[in-house]
């Protein structure tokens, strides 16, 4: 064998400085997560299938409903209280369904086997409108 874990010339299994590296990665990930959480509620949901937009929904005014897109019966969507989710899909791993309801700007639910994407966007970068 070319080298083994016991060789002095090959890397050690663990070094004390590793803890710092791991902590830094964890911090970056958590910071990223918190930043996503702080995103404002989305106003528009865009459903794309096969890379083209099939429906755009204004989430702030949308009524609660379950619907499918014509011609793509294998996947169903549900809107509830300004949030949207993929309700059911015939794909193998159903990752898209497990994502659950999404409601914040920048979130998405993706079904790769059915090439379906639900994307949420806000309206521009306006935080407050004073009138």
């Amino acid at each position: 064998m070319r080298n083994t874990m016991q060789d002095t010339s090959s890397p050690k299994f663990f070094k004390k400085s590793d803890i710092i590296i791991i902590l830094l990665i964890l911090l970056a990930a958590i910071g990223f997560l918190l930043w996503q959480r702080a995103m404002p509620a989305a106003t528009t949901a865009t459903i794309s299938i096969d890379s083209s937009v099939r429906r755009t929904i204004d989430l702030s005014t949308a009524k609660d409903e379950v619907f499918r897109i014509d011609g793509y019966d294998n996947i169903a969507f549900e809107i509830k209280d300004g949030a949207i989710r993929i309700l059911e899909s015939d794909c193998h791993d159903r990752i898209c369904v497990r994502v659950g309801f999404i409601s914040k700007k920048g979130q998405s639910a993706v079904c790769l086997p059915n090439r379906t994407v639900v994307e949420l966007s806000g309206d521009g970068d306006i935080d407050v409108v004073i009138s």
Partner: protein, 178 residues
């Protein structure tokens, strides 16, 4: 023993060992699919078969590892379809490339644990990039922080497991032609 004969035996040893590792990788990913709770967050997996990939890369070299990654993707193609297979190939290739970079570029100063974590994170990143490309949507990158966290966890678990089973796997080298 003549030189050519020895080389042939050496080659046979490598082929057989690669085949055994491939079988091991298939079993590990099947077991993992059975025990992963379906309610876990989308796409989060341990990647147990990466233990085998790492062993192959660290102790057998680049060519058997490339064979392993391609075989695994082919097996996924047969059992889970084209898209899953593309994801497996992208994740596997990216993961091996990053680990190689750290192994060679780090000149033995980067620990196996960090290489394992980097491999797991790279695996997730490679899959995410292909997913973004397939859906032509940058929004898929929203999953990145979750996959970064799960990559660190998975990398630590697989790294420690490899360390723990090393003595057992290393016993196969007794069959290496002398």
């Amino acid at each position: 023993m003549p030189d050519s004969q020895h080389r042939r035996r050496e080659l046979t040893y490598k082929i057989v060992l690669t085949a055994v590792l491939f079988a091991l990788a298939i079993v590990l990913s099947t077991v993992e699919n059975m025990i992963t709770p379906t309610q876990l967050f989308a796409g989060v997996k341990l990647g147990l078969s990466n233990i085998v990939t790492m062993y192959c890369l660290f102790f057998m070299g680049v060519r058997p590892t490339a064979a392993l990654v391609i075989l695994k993707a082919f097996f996924t193609l047969l059992t889970r379809g084209l898209i899953a297979s593309m994801l497996a190939l992208a994740g596997g290739t990216f993961s091996v490339l990053i680990m190689l970079l750290l192994l060679w570029g780090g000149r033995g100063k980067i620990s196996y644990l960090i290489i394992s974590i980097a491999g797991a994170v790279a695996h997730n990143t490679g899959q995410l990039l292909v997913a973004s490309w397939l859906t032509k949507s940058a929004y898929t990158l929203y999953y990145f922080p979750i996959l970064l966290l799960s990559g660190v966890g998975a990398g630590i678990v697989t790294g420690i497991t490899l360390r723990a089973v090393m003595p057992a796997i290393k016993r196969v080298s007794e069959y290496r032609p002398k």
